[in-house]
Symmetry: C2
Subunit: 430 residues, 2 copies
């Protein structure tokens, strides 16, 4: 099955106004044909609220990351949990991604169903039913390259208890004290690695950590803490190597969420003398954002050494547009856009553009003085100067902070060009 | 079409492990047949995380509200946006609900598609495409009883501009200064009502406010503010009546979210001498919660006068269960349950029960000392005393705060009995 064929069931889905954002007054259409409708967001042709991805920003971000990967010598296994959009997974693979990272067996199933054949489950896998499904899928498909994490002898024992033919490849997860999952310290992680070696059905493929949980108010502190953690991870890999615990042709050294992957390539690139692959897992680079990750990527760009320094910055591709439903006071507008539509865990949506349907001019920049100050379930409170020229019926486009908690509020996003013409529809599977 | 027939397409949907919570190692099955699989959550038969609704609590809450409605003489038009589950809408209608409230035209479309024929859109409707769909649906179906809100002459003009046969019934929304949508003050609202009367295609059916946005730290302040607002709403209704602005046999007076509906029935029950109906819109009574609304309903119960005082309290029906993936430190456990699975805008999930799959004993109460202190996208950090008997693989059930932002994270929830046997599956449409 080719990658393209695997997406066919998505392209063949029927879309209509039951999908948020699809125009209520249009008949149902095949998802793959949405680009032929001639819809234009700024003309009010879609339903609102609506989520859009700007193709030019996606393409720019893909080139940016491909260049970073090329210069750094690392591999990219982007975290698919961010978008859960197989159509985007396939673009990432076509752009050279080594595989797709996922967070749960259910997510693995979605990616597998739609043709992804190299999957890193960056999480512990514990539940017998899920393990049985993973094992039976592995046994039935020699092309399925699957790896998951273990951080305790209990997790090793559980994985090892599932009958099957093909061995399960694992990475030992190294945590930090007070942190999230992951064995605490090199010695504890080494004990887990030895348990993997002693197990009958597991193969140790590498080591892993997720440095993205570090986040104080002080970038220098975060950097030092992450560098120490990565040094421990390199040490763990060396210890496993010295003890002959790895059972693989090429050891995986994996870390790198969306904010510190520069530190990862510098710390792990030379960690082992033998064949190894540094696997980064950024999920957010592709859509990027206008808040949390924009801030963190600004710090990343400042840190980059000359050989890794990139031209241009990642661009926010994901926008949520809402319509002004009410202007009840001179300094207040209410948009039909709420917690159900935009992530708000790492900052509220940021109004960036606005337009008046029927006005052929391109959307205008929203003044910095416009602020969304409260999200209700289905409304946003937009505070603005009393004289602002924003009317009932106008459309406001918002950047978001934290793509992960925005994508999951949409089953369909629309891909648009820079004039907000709809080029196609992207289906998510949360 | 009977109500039951309208749900048939949902019951005929195929479910498999692509739906969060459905066991990965089970073959696909018709949604309506899930109850026949003999699944039991506490045995680890489901996938985790999973969202469940306890049938006994749903039934209790339905009886509670039916009794309140009976005693108060109001009508219930529960807000469907909370669950967006047509199967639950139909139960609410079977329990005597007058109609279903919704927040957006897309939500109206979902409810209409699955057989709901009396719908209150408790929001302004502005977008031409959505208005065209609403009007064409009204014109095609004489049984479709639709009402929406207007809070400005602009909104009136937009509604009035859509060609069609059947008139559109509207309620004038009354807001408060600094509040959300709604005309500011009785005079402004009366001007909107006069614009409705002057419009060619609209009929004024009543007046409306949403008092749930009031929320200070002081219950007495909130109560006084809401009572003043409701008195204004009654005054607005009387003014409209005196001017002959209503064009309906029975005026609707609607307010009442999930926290102050007692104040609404007391303020509006006698507001007009002529035929009128007080329409409450609580969306959260049915599932209830273990946080935000539990607190607010506690205050409501204290306020109730003797004639409305109910036996028993609403019970939390909605729980999210996660599996312990890691116990990396004596005082820490990590559950595979995160921001993607549980609302966290009005409080983090509260661990209430736990069990060990394989142990035939019923789930035990989680000690009060267990606290979820951080939600990551896909993990929960559970802090607990160092000696706590919680192992990798154990299951932890959590109450949630704010059902609206939890339901929207699930396409399928499982209905369970008090022994956590799966009785059926409930599909949402967000």
């Amino acid at each position: 099955m080719t990658l393209t064929a695997a997406l066919q069931p998505i392209l063949d889905l029927q879309l209509d106004g039951a999908s948020k954002g699809f125009p209520q007054d249009r008949p149902a259409i095949r998802l793959g044909d949405v680009g032929e409708l001639g819809l234009r967001l700024t003309r009010g042709d879609l339903d609102f609220p609506v989520a859009v991805l700007r193709r030019s920003a996606l393409e720019h971000n893909a080139r940016w990351m491909a260049e970073f990967i090329s210069r750094s010598g690392a591999s990219l296994c982007p975290h698919g949990k961010t978008t859960m959009a197989p159509q985007l997974f396939h673009r990432q693979l076509a752009d050279g991604a080594w595989g797709i990272t996922l967070a749960t067996p259910q997510q693995v199933r979605i990616a597998y169903r739609f043709g992804v054949r190299r999957i890193l489950l960056a999480n512990e896998a514990i539940l017998p039913g899920a393990l049985r499904w993973l094992q039976s899928t592995l046994d039935a498909d020699p092309d399925f390259d699957f790896t998951c994490l273990v951080d305790s002898p209990e997790a090793v024992a559980r994985l090892d208890s599932v009958p099957g033919r093909r061995p399960i490849q694992v990475l030992v997860e190294l945590g930090i004290p007070g942190g999230r999952t992951g064995a605490r310290g090199v010695q504890a992680a080494l004990a887990v690695a030895r348990a993997v070696k002693a197990a009958t059905r597991l193969q140790l493929r590498g080591v892993e950590c997720y440095e993205g949980i570090v986040g104080s108010q002080d970038p220098a502190v975060d950097r030092a803490r992450i560098q120490a953690w990565l040094a421990d991870l390199a040490n763990l890999a060396q210890c496993c190597d010295a003890e002959g615990l790895f059972e693989t042709d090429c050891v995986l050294l994996s870390a790198g969420g969306s904010a510190y992957f520069d530190l990862v390539v510098q710390a792990l690139g030379e960690a082992l003398a033998g064949p190894h692959r540094v696997v980064l897992r950024s999920g957010c680079y592709f859509s990027h954002d206008a808040g949390h990750y924009q801030h963190l990527l600004g710090l990343l760009e400042e840190r980059l050494p000359a050989r890794l320094r990139m031209e241009g910055k990642l661009r926010p591709a994901l926008e949520i547009w809402g319509q002004v439903l009410s202007r009840p006071e001179p300094g207040l507008a209410f948009l039909g856009l709420g917690k159900r539509d935009a992530g708000h865990d790492l900052g509220l949506p940021i109004p960036t553009l606005w337009c008046r349907p029927g006005d052929p001019a391109p959307p205008r920049q929203a003044p910095d003085s416009w602020r969304i100050t409260t999200l209700y379930d289905q409304h946003a409170r937009l505070e603005l100067p009393a004289g602002a020229d924003l009317q009932v019926g106008d459309l406001v486009g918002c950047g978001i902070s934290h793509p992960c908690t925005t994508f999951d509020k949409w089953q369909v996003l629309f891909e648009v060009d820079d004039d907000y013409r709809v080029l196609g529809a992207i289906r998510t599977f949360f």
